[in-house]
Symmetry: C2
Subunit: 363 residues, 2 copies
């Protein structure tokens, strides 16, 4: 196994993505070297490299390292970087399996893993099925590797750090996978239940907030030996911010600029995504408006004109404005926590900037 | 977390399955208790309980413990039992995802996980898709839990044992998943390549032999501190025996009694499985026989009469007899290793009995 990148300078969050990418590339190279008798493995590691190279904010690794920084003035040790990189590999796994479940041909304008694998086998009559099945395996590999990466260590194992990280990583996995199940239940061709705001918030909590914000921050802080007050302050910041993140996502899914978001403004409607935005609009709609929304949500053949009508209804009911207000409320709530939180100043400064970026993002 | 069953009497391999099942049930109960705010998790743990209760030989846990016994006179400590139980949970994961990939409605006469999950959502128009997607998540949970179970320990963590087990568990995972990919490549509606005996053997090696026999034995022996001579002897036993196991499986898939195997004798043909049996028959077939075999392999609409003709051709070419001979050769090879292997007598006695059972099994 190669020596993974082990930066020891004080943390600069903006340098985290490049370091994490290098660690992941080195890890994948190591996998190919270790499995010399299985050259087929390179197909899978190459695909993961392509996914990493396609970009991404590495928000979970960044927050893991900022979580460390919130509780320690020391430079994060290699074990913390490994947990951070592990979170990114877990995220790649989650994306691969999510895209299979959503049958998405593209993500951020690039072909999804199952689509690439189908193309790779284009000569076969069963190329689509084979592509999906191979992508299930690719996700399985990434999930397994996300744990392998944790205990890959040179020169000496850091089992103490690893054993501290496990309970949180285990909770993150269960929450994320059950959150994904809640999301599946709340989507579909013709949702059998009306979306409610509280049900939509619960999906957000597990599928996004805990997974993307709270748990990564906790992991870093916990590895730095943070006490319950620090963890509680990080939760108090992360939970509203994570909700703001997802609420912005829902708005971008309906009103966003596809060239910036990499996502069509038809997808959320066609998938029948039970967002807070849709739930709010439905709760306030006139019977005629509600009829249009119900007919459109989960209709895979929705036309652009129909989508435009739905968008107008969401605006007319005031749901768009309400969700904007929810975002602002949550942004201010997260900021207020930072004013008195027992977190070290460099982390507070970063979290403050990040909150603004999350609340106002356009991509 | 509950105290996992920690037997400390000398090992009696026939008691292993019941202990492993108890450990798994306790572990799953602990998961439900730990996720009190996610009651939906019980759907997934209940399904795993159902799969466990449906039976199984627990061959991987048994071999892990016998591997320990091959290198130590001491009773296996809790950490070894945990690795053994982890192998069974990994196996449940592999079955769940394999059944999705094969689109199998049943396994051993019982509905598969994705089929049960579709039934659970029968009221929805997208029940089949939702069932498959939820089963992908179920497999992901089982894979993650197979690792979580490793470091669940009470009263004290046994990190030394765990860190010894990881490299072998990592290798087992990569080999099994890439082995499954090789199996996917070698199946399909109309295989684009003729099956060859050597390609079929390579699939066996990764998908079955290493995963089912060699690695579990290695894991137990390695945890007992075995040297390279013991590991080499276990490989020399396990590799031919694993091949014999799979070759018997191929014969049972064509000639077996469905009421004993729990599997239709049409499935391997319909899936176009490139077995050693099929490859041998094809290599020896007359042009007319080869035409019949090619037309039938991978034909999902194969009739019973067509399958009977294919079976007759496989017999007539002598392929059935050849595969029986390959099994006998491998069985004798495995037994011969035991005569002079540096393994402790109780393990040798068990491995000898097991070899006979594997070679002659009818279910």
């Amino acid at each position: 196994m190669t020596v993974l990148a082990t930066p020891c300078a004080p943390l600069e969050p903006e340098t985290v993505p490049a370091t994490i990418e290098t660690m992941l590339y080195e890890f994948l190279d190591g996998q190919v070297r270790a499995a010399a008798d299985l050259p087929e493995l390179a197909l899978f590691t190459d695909l993961l490299r392509t996914m990493i190279a396609a970009g991404g904010k590495r928000i979970r690794p960044v927050l893991c390292l900022v979580g460390w920084q919130a509780a320690s003035d020391l430079a994060p040790p290699p074990a913390v970087w490994r947990v951070a990189a592990s979170l990114e590999l877990f995220h790649l796994f989650a994306l691969i399996h999510d895209d299979i479940m959503d049958a998405s041909p593209t993500r951020r304008g690039k072909p999804t893993a199952h689509h690439r694998l189908a193309t790779h086998h284009a000569g076969r009559p069963d190329a689509d099925t084979l592509g999906t099945n191979a992508a299930i395996l690719l996700g399985d590999l990434a999930l397994g590797w996300s744990y392998e990466l944790l205990h890959t260590s040179h020169p000496s194992p850091t089992t103490e750090h690893a054993s501290r990280a496990w309970p949180l990583l285990n909770a993150l996995r269960t929450e994320t996978l059950v959150g994904q199940y809640l999301d599946l239940l709340a989507s579909g061709p013709t949702p059998t239940t009306l979306p409610t705001v509280s049900a939509a918030c619960r999906v957000i909590r597990y599928k996004t907030t805990k997974y993307t914000c709270e748990r990564p921050l906790h992991l870093g802080a916990h590895l730095a030996g943070a006490g319950p007050d620090v963890l509680a302050a990080l939760s108090a910041y992360a939970l509203p911010l994570g909700e703001a993140f997802q609420l912005r996502d829902d708005l971008l899914g309906v009103y966003g600029a596809p060239e910036r978001t990499g996502k069509s403004v038809m997808d959320d409607f066609r998938e029948g995504k039970q967002t807070v935005l849709a739930a709010t609009a439905l709760a306030r709609a006139t019977p005629a408006q509600a009829h249009t929304l119900h007919a459109g949500l989960g209709n895979p053949y929705l036309t652009c004109a129909e989508a435009a009508r739905m968008r107008q209804i969401i605006t007319d009911t005031g749901a768009q404005a309400t969700v904007e207000n929810l975002i602002t409320e949550r942004y201010e709530q997260a900021l207020a926590v930072l004013d008195h939180a027992p977190l070290r100043p460099p982390a507070v400064a970063f979290l403050r900037t990040m909150a603004a970026a999350v609340a106002t993002r356009t991509s």
